[in-house]
Symmetry: C2
Subunit: 201 residues, 2 copies
């Protein structure tokens, strides 16, 4: 009974997503389901700590993950990830090297885990998963490129406006001090920027 | 005769590379060869200028490419690419958006061009190319991650020592002022670092 309820719940979240991405048959999807695990996190619970090796790709069924670095005792927030998207510490996942990041949950979060070892098997048994791997890698590249550009080529106000436009979920669901850290500014600067934008609209 | 000499020359450079990567049959390799074009660049000739859309993945048969940004009239060197490796402006290539980079040749360079449109067809006609696309994307991610880390987390001397260890070709073949720019320092600082290292060995 556990298996079938696990299957139903995972099917609801993942099947449309993978169907759209790589067009799996029911039989292939069943093989894929057999590879998965699940995990729940409480708010502020840590998923990966600096030094851990990331052995999974995580599909976020519900909730929100954040990654951050510790620099001189201060948390520098790097990115946010929401439901219906994948997250992995891609460098650690690919090279099986200790992670340089920390990941925690900003909300109660439910994850579906795809172990790296299973993904490597899927590349062989169901070659369609190569496309899945390619799209995951392309998105990881574009996400990192976007992040680097955001921090190096725009003013703090431009960064905030871009975030509002491209990722409204971050503005709606993430506490202000994490958004400030993500934008590379102090919380009082973010308050001033928000006030200025509200007065101009 | 042209076709067969083109084939022989491309076979020599590319066949072992692709054989190792995705194990193509002779017939599949022939289809792949039919997708390719070639291009030669003189030293300092520009391959892609800021604003161009990058429509190819380039296999470097011979020579060296460099990418750079123009910031306030100054060229900031971003990366170097050598023979037997692939280069593409991956963001522009994936999204077909204008490039933010400039690419030129630091040596007389010979390129084999794989058009994006052909690669998209290959993903469908020879699904093994999905693996090729995945590995290309994974390497692009790791290269960008490495580059970001090099600039943000190490001292200039540590960066130079890492470059010496990991990419001796850059030290051997690239003019000093491009290496200085790549490391984010001025040429006199690079001279001082080099002198210090030579005195210590």
């Amino acid at each position: 009974m556990y298996i079938s309820s696990k299957k139903t719940s995972m099917q609801q979240s993942l099947f449309p997503h993978l169907q759209h991405l790589i067009g799996l048959t029911n039989e292939e999807f069943d093989i894929f389901l057999g590879c998965l695990q699940s995990q729940k996190l409480k708010r502020r619970e840590v998923l990966i700590a600096e030094g851990d090796i990331c052995r999974y790709a995580y599909f976020i069924k519900k909730g929100c993950l954040r990654y951050f670095h510790n620099v001189d005792g201060e948390e520098i927030t790097g990115q946010f990830f929401f439901e219906n998207g994948w997250y992995t510490d891609y460098e650690s996942f690919l090279l099986q090297k200790p992670s340089k990041q920390n990941i925690d949950a900003l909300e109660p979060t439910e994850l579906i885990l795809l172990p790296k070892s299973e993904l490597l098997n899927l590349y062989i048994t169901i070659p369609k998963f190569e496309k899945f791997g390619r799209i995951m890698a392309e998105n990881a590249f574009l996400g990192l490129r976007n992040r680097t550009e955001l921090l190096t080529q725009q003013s703090a106000e431009e960064r905030y406006l871009r975030l509002m436009k491209e990722r409204p979920k971050v503005i709606e669901r993430v506490p202000q001090h994490y958004i400030a850290s993500y934008l590379g500014i102090k919380p009082p600067s973010l308050s001033r920027i928000r006030k200025r934008i509200m007065n101009n609209t």
